[in-house]
């Protein structure tokens, strides 16, 4: 019996192997649209895979999406799987998605921190960081969302290797981060970058490391408002939006501060839902509703990027 990407149970959480196997099936099912790229390997030598959705062309302007950089935020990897399937299914069916993919590529990294994710399945469900060993410390792992070269090591990250927000010894010390940095730099034509976390129901834009507003603040704020309105229209989930530092807290060395400083104007980060007050243990029955509402917001960001090319 031929494997099929659509018979996968999207309403359940899955292990790393199951997700990686499913990615191969998605590629098999959509060979002219989806391909799998390995952009590097993790500290524990697991492959770092990115799904590329492309209808052709060379080095087209692109949109980057990633989920699961904090391994315990399982709703994000599950949303990534659902989203990958949605993009593949909607091409040729949905006018907006088709228009986006006819002019741009989409890259989606579903398991951005595979070592941490595997560890959440085998040893500690609530593990958040990478699994790199810190010299001279009994504590393992670096917060990969404090390890980017944007205000690295400043206030809003911890120098204590035992902390959940440990920034690491130097920028890009984590191969999971360095691989994305290298990919983004070598691609050179990424126009939107969306990093998906959970759970606080927020849509955020730079900066996190400084109170200085980004030059594009007004536009990013307007896009956020539109995206959040679209998201909330489905199930009434309440989201707040704004810059990281004004909406939640000062955070240095963060992903989208770096991408914005690289010239990727449409840099956003999500904090997905917890309407059920379950935190990182969001019941599996909420996976599909969460992914569905997030998709509406993602589409707004992608459409805006397509229509406002720079």
């Amino acid at each position: 019996i031929k494997r099929s990407s659509s018979t996968f149970d999207f309403a359940s959480y899955h292990t790393l192997d199951e997700i990686y196997d499913w990615m191969d099936v998605l590629v098999e099912d959509h060979p002219n649209l989806v391909s799998k790229i390995q952009i590097g390997q993790s500290y524990e030598k697991r492959p770092l895979y990115v799904l590329k959705f492309s209808t052709g062309g060379w080095n087209r302007p692109a949109i980057w999406l990633d989920t699961g950089i904090h391994s315990r935020e399982w709703i994000t990897q599950a949303t990534g799987v659902w989203t990958a399937n949605k993009i593949a299914e909607e091409y040729g069916q949905d006018r907006s998605v088709t228009a986006i993919l006819d002019s741009m590529d989409i890259f989606l990294e579903i398991v951005t921190n595979p070592d941490g994710f595997a560890f959440t399945h085998s040893s500690n469900r609530l593990w958040r960081k990478t699994r790199s060993i810190n010299a001279g410390s009994r504590c393992v792992g670096v917060d990969p969302n404090r390890n980017w070269d944007a205000g690295f090591g400043e206030a809003g990250a911890s120098g204590n290797s035992c902390s959940e927000t440990y920034h690491g010894p130097y920028p890009n010390s984590e191969p999971e981060v360095k691989s994305i940095v290298d990919f983004v730099k070598s691609h050179g034509n990424i126009k939107a970058f969306v990093s998906i976390h959970s759970y606080s129901q927020l849509l955020l834009y730079p900066y996190g490391y400084t109170e200085t507003p980004v030059p594009d603040q007004q536009e990013l704020h307007e896009v956020s408002a539109k995206a959040v309105a679209a998201l909330s229209s489905l199930y009434g989930t309440k989201y707040k939006y704004g810059s990281i530092i004004t909406t939640i807290y000062r955070a240095s060395g963060g992903t989208i501060d770096w991408t914005y400083n690289q010239g990727i104007k449409y840099s956003f980060t999500f904090e997905l839902r917890d309407t059920g007050r379950y935190g990182f243990l969001l019941p599996a029955k909420q996976i599909v509703p969460t992914a569905e509402e997030t998709w509406l917001a993602l589409k707004v960001i992608m459409e805006h990027t397509r229509d406002n090319m720079y």
């Binding site: 359940s12 959480y13 609530l126 759970y199 807290y249 379950y278 243990l281 019941p283 599996a284």
Partner: protein, 93 residues
């Protein structure tokens, strides 16, 4: 495998900047191993703290003694993890 039997997640609402600072102090007490799922940011923004079972009494005493208002968001983390694991097992079958 690390178990979380009896661990609770407390949702704490700070009423002032002073109380936010006090939660920061709580987080720095390494022996309590409080895991901030949602950090204290502003008086309007609740903080969620996973508290290991052995530290529960001490943390609740701390919160009570400083007049924090809080509720128990998750009664027993391990119960939810067991449910999650069972749900995955059923799905895989």
């Amino acid at each position: 495998e690390q178990l979380f039997v009896g661990d609770q997640v407390l949702r704490v609402t700070a009423r002032s900047e002073e109380q936010i600072a006090l939660l920061g102090v709580l987080g720095k007490r390494e022996e309590l191993q409080v895991d901030f799922w949602r950090h204290p940011v502003s008086p309007s923004h609740p903080a969620d703290l996973r508290v290991p079972f052995p530290s529960l009494q001490a943390v609740k005493n701390f919160l009570d003694s400083h007049n924090f208002s809080y509720s128990i968001m998750i009664e027993d983390v391990q119960e939810l993890l067991d449910e999650e694991k069972e749900s995955m097992r059923r799905s895989r079958r």
